[in-house]
Symmetry: C2
């Protein structure tokens, strides 16, 4: 059965697979200085944003990704006050970070200001905390930003990036992780999105290897479903400066003062369980 142009289809040619969402109408289209930004109204996934033809966010399923890119890292750090989000232009991760009452400063460094401006228009819920007095939105190159950061500038760094190709490739390098390590305080925690366990297992192993090589005492990968990303299964990988096994504040997570839709303390612990085919490779590292 073929699909016509009433569907938005994202193909992963090298994986021989694709996902599609049924469209109601196109709401916006622009070519920014960096990429093609499109906004659609879908039939059942709410509003959809794509960048250069890749699904970034839908109303219906973004909660899993945004919660898992924020709360595990923040509950891993003993007392996160200064948080940096690199990328994250739709501001959904920033909103989750600001749910933590202890956070005093949440900086976001997104390369493409247009992504954020378009998100403010079409995803107002995700941008609901952009005017929080603790939030600072910068539009700059995250790789340069972290290279220029003073030591001990942040407690948590979140790399909420696109795929490791083009400008985002540098966000998966050992050199970048070395800069993050220096910019973090002594209990510092980094988390970066690390693609699909089914499609990109080699990348997950490489990210953990590079984090350790860059000086992080421990690394661990979080696994979670993400319907509209390739394979429907996604990951984020933690680097922890202290050698505490990337354990987390279980009691604080269980008594969290804010609402979530996917994350809870049991889900946090569960996300750290590696499927056997990856556990063997990570243990053997």
């Amino acid at each position: 059965m073929s699909l016509d142009d009433s569907w938005y289809t994202e193909q992963w040619a090298e994986q021989g697979s694709a996902i599609s969402l049924k469209l109601a109408k196109k709401l916006h289209h622009e070519q920014s200085a960096y990429q093609r930004i499109e906004i659609f109204e879908t039939e059942t996934f709410g509003t959809l944003m794509t960048l250069d033809g890749l699904v970034m966010v839908t109303d219906r399923d973004n909660f899993v990704y945004h919660e898992m890119m924020s709360h595990p890292a923040l509950f891993t750090h003993p007392d996160p006050r200064r948080v940096l989000v690199i990328g994250g232009g739709d501001c959904g991760t920033l909103r989750e970070v600001l749910k933590h009452a202890g956070v005093q400063l949440a900086e976001q460094v997104e390369l493409d200001e247009r992504v954020t401006r378009v998100a403010e228009q079409f995803f107002p819920e995700l941008c609901a905390s952009n005017r929080d007095p603790r939030a600072r939105l910068h539009f700059a190159d995250g790789i340069q930003w972290i290279a220029d950061s003073a030591p001990d500038s942040y407690d948590v760094i979140i790399v909420d990036s696109t795929d490791p190709v083009g400008p985002a490739a540098g966000l998966f390098s050992e050199e970048f992780y070395q800069h993050c390590h220096r910019a973090l305080g002594p209990d510092g925690v980094l988390v970066g999105q690390s693609e699909s366990p089914l499609f990109h297992a080699d990348l997950i192993v490489a990210v953990q290897t590079r984090l350790r090589a860059a000086g992080f005492a421990d690394s661990a990968t979080l696994f979670f479903p993400q319907c509209t990303y390739p394979s429907g299964w996604w990951s984020g990988t933690l680097g922890c400066k202290r050698g505490t096994g990337c354990g987390f504040r279980v009691g604080d997570a269980a008594r969290k003062s804010f609402t979530t839709r996917y994350y809870n303390a049991e889900i946090h612990a569960a996300a750290l369980a590696a499927p056997e085919f990856l556990r063997e490779r990570l243990v053997a590292r």
Copy 2:
């Protein structure tokens, strides 16, 4: 971007989404007494079987489903010797069941013999244990089979069915669960596939409610990724006759004598963690 007929596309109209796999060639097509059975060679997912246009199994990602439909239930029962698989015509679940050395009898009751015969031809790995002396393959109506079963006939019943429409709808009913409850021994465990947490949360809640109403002391849902099923996120739901919280033999699972690719003891515990949006509904039940 549209997709042509070189892709196999499964549409879920009411969910406004679809997944597609790139095809190399069609290997087989037949109309059995019950359904249309098709076999394709894909570019990157190996061999694909579809029934009435719905993806049943691919070489690449079936391991997650088959392992999660078998090992959690078998490690939940204290000493599973007699196992019944209802459905499961591709025989991948049966193969996993027979990895447990303590199993003395594994019966499979599949409605459509042609599914199994086609699987034997095109998925020989999944059917590798069909000639195990402990295996008994029956081709009959599973609902009638369980209604006719004597009390205390099985230790574990696995409902490896298609979606809850058409002939399989009865496999999700309270009456069916009552029959299963009677056919199980005192420590009996049932597990049934229970669809996508993102798309079918109501069904998961209903299955747990019906299992309790049918006499199962405890119920619990297992969550796992499944790339080629709707939303890429899937579930199985356990019913346990003893009120032990559907806990499992952690030590035995950690020391299992057979190989797996997804399942391990940590993954088993992790799969039991409910996402917040479902935990609230299941706790409130």
